[in-house]
């Protein structure tokens, strides 16, 4: 893992508070990994952990939602601006070991890491993406997914309700999930009924991003694990969800 200064290639506002930041980074990235991003010197002080949306040809893309001070600054970046990056961080997914029918299930901005995962998977991939309002970042998945199912709590053009209501784990060999904890817990509980292997991508506030500060731990059956370096990918059945 390296700490370095890189340049912004582009930063696109795809919808409302959702952006895609492209950085000039020549790294070998595994799907599910993330970077610590910092585009400021003094304030705020900490870098922000942002998952890799896609990586190819020397460009790593990050899809993110503006939530606080850090992501607000990220959203104002322009081409050629400098960004400090530490990464790629985390275990990521060893996608080559997954075969057969695979379901990717996302809630909100949890869709961010799913594109790179979909790109790397060999099997037959279906995307289940749940949103609060209008969907975003869906188009690029069409190349890599056989079926795309979308739900929205507010947009009546799509299934009106939670994405977990239209997903059946029985149909799949593997399920990969990223979203709010309550949703991931629901998906894991559903998968347990059919003994369908399920992986979740956790997130948390982080300070160091290297496994030193123990600020980002989550509860698992084997005790506390660091989301940054022991994760962010965990077996769904190992995680003790707090939601």
């Amino acid at each position: 893992m390296e700490y370095k200064e890189v340049l912004v290639y582009s930063n696109v506002n795809v919808q409302d508070d959702i952006y895609v930041l492209s950085l000039e980074i020549e790294d070998d990235v595994r799907a599910g990994q993330f970077y610590m991003l910092k585009a400021w010197e003094e304030e705020p002080i900490l870098a922000r952990p942002i998952s890799v949306h896609s990586s190819e040809n020397g460009i790593v893309k990050f899809a993110y939602q503006v939530k606080g001070r850090g992501t607000k600054i990220l959203s104002s970046l322009k081409a050629e601006d400098k960004v400090y990056v530490l990464g790629p961080v985390g275990n990521g997914l060893y996608t080559e070991k997954f075969k057969g029918k695979i379901a990717l299930i996302s809630g909100g901005i949890g869709i961010a890491p799913m594109l790179q995962i979909a790109k790397c998977l060999d099997g037959e991939v279906d995307l289940y993406a749940g949103f609060n309002k209008s969907p975003y970042l869906i188009d690029e998945f069409k190349k890599y997914c056989k079926n795309i199912y979308i739900s929205s709590e507010k947009d009546t053009e799509y299934y009106n309700g939670f994405i977990t209501e239209i997903f059946n784990p029985f149909e799949y060999n593997v399920v990969i999930c990223c979203g709010p904890e309550a949703m991931m817990k629901r998906v894991v509980d559903m998968c347990k009924i059919y003994a369908t292997p399920v992986y979740v991508l956790m997130e948390n506030k982080m300070a160091c991003g290297v496994g030193a500060c123990l600020g980002c731990t989550c509860n698992t059956k084997e005790g506390k694990k660091r989301v940054c370096v022991d994760g962010p990918v965990f077996k769904g059945t190992d995680v003790v969800f707090s939601a």
């Binding site: 893992m1 390296e2 700490y3 304030e43 705020p44 002080i45 900490l46 870098a47 400090y84 530490l86 506030k205 982080m206 300070a207 160091c208 290297v210 496994g211 030193a212 500060c213 123990l214 600020g215 980002c216 731990t217 509860n219 005790g223 506390k224 370096v229």
Partner: protein, 302 residues
């Protein structure tokens, strides 16, 4: 050519430069291996160790605020036995001094922990009587100097390792605390640990942290930490290790001029993982520019 030396002899241990990493911000060193050249540091201080393994606190553990951050990790660590078996040897491979930070929630825990560490190859013990995030101990020992004195006394009896006592800025009277710790046998004093702070989640209408209070660190605390290092350095005749909000070489030199023999970098490691190396290089550059041959020339100069 001008030749400046950064080395410091501290409690009989040779440090090639005065820049150490503060407990809890650098794991066991190996976490930063490959991100920086760890062997260039003056020394390593371990994550806070306790006699038995601790899982640490539930709920939110870190929360960024203006000028710094709050943490409530709660001394999560593998316990001293596992540290000795699994981590110490790897740390020794960096070939720089290793200081074990020892925490506890009872005097008995401190004594038994120190007894185990005494038999290892660590270079020094930093006695943590100042962790704000553990109930029934940690900082409680660091508030009243009469209680601190007893802990230091008992640990002093059990170990021949150089003993540095890390003070809490939340102590009732910081100078009296330092003096009492030295009377009880401390070979050195390090200060300051984090300030007791808190934050409120206005949407949940609840404190951010399960323990309500958390430890505040970062650049905002530097002027207060510096003042305390200055006062304590004047009051005790043992060497002082200064920390609290140091983010660049100028901060580090301020602490040295205020009387610190060594300094520790904590939160700044999170702001910039290369900061320790930049500080070492910055101090060296400053010394050459200012024609300073040895840090002895500027230490405690004010």
């Amino acid at each position: 050519m001008w030749f400046s030396v950064l080395n410091v002899k501290f409690c009989g241990v040779d440090f090639k430069n005065p820049v150490l990493v503060a407990s809890g911000t650098f794991g066991f060193g190996v976490e930063y291996d490959g991100i920086i050249d760890v062997t260039r540091l003056g020394g390593l201080i371990t994550k806070g160790l306790t006699l038995n393994k601790k899982e640490g606190n539930e709920g939110v553990r870190i929360h960024e605020v203006r000028g710094g951050m709050l943490n409530s990790i709660g001394l999560q660590n593998p316990g001293i036995d596992e540290f000795i078996e699994k981590h110490l040897q790897r740390m020794k491979e960096f070939k720089i001094p290793i200081i074990a930070n020892l925490g506890g929630s009872s005097i008995e825990d401190y004594v038994r922990g120190a007894e185990k560490l005494d038999k290892t190859e660590i270079d020094m013990i930093e006695l943590n009587i100042s962790c704000p995030n553990v109930k029934e101990g940690g900082m409680n020992f660091g508030i009243k100097s009469s209680i601190a004195k007893e802990v230091v006394n008992r640990v002093r009896e059990i170990t021949k390792k150089p003993l540095m006592v890390k003070l809490s800025p939340n102590a009732e009277e910081i100078v009296d605390m330092a003096v009492k710790c030295v009377e009880a046998g401390a070979d050195a004093i390090s200060l300051v640990n984090t300030f007791k702070g808190m934050a409120v989640d206005i949407y949940k209408r609840k404190p951010v942290f399960n323990n309500i209070f958390a430890g505040y660190s970062g650049p905002a605390i530097k002027p207060i930490a510096l003042r305390m290092v200055y006062e304590v350095s004047k009051a005790v005749d043992v060497p002082v290790c200064g920390l609290g909000g140091i983010v660049d070489y100028k901060d580090a030199i301020e602490f040295i001029m205020a009387g610190a023999h060594l300094i520790q970098i904590g939160t700044a490691n999170f702001i910039n993982p290369r900061v320790t190396i930049e500080i070492i290089e910055g101090i060296e550059r400053f010394m050459i520019e200012q024609s300073i041959k040895s840090l002895d020339e500027i230490r405690g100069i004010i």
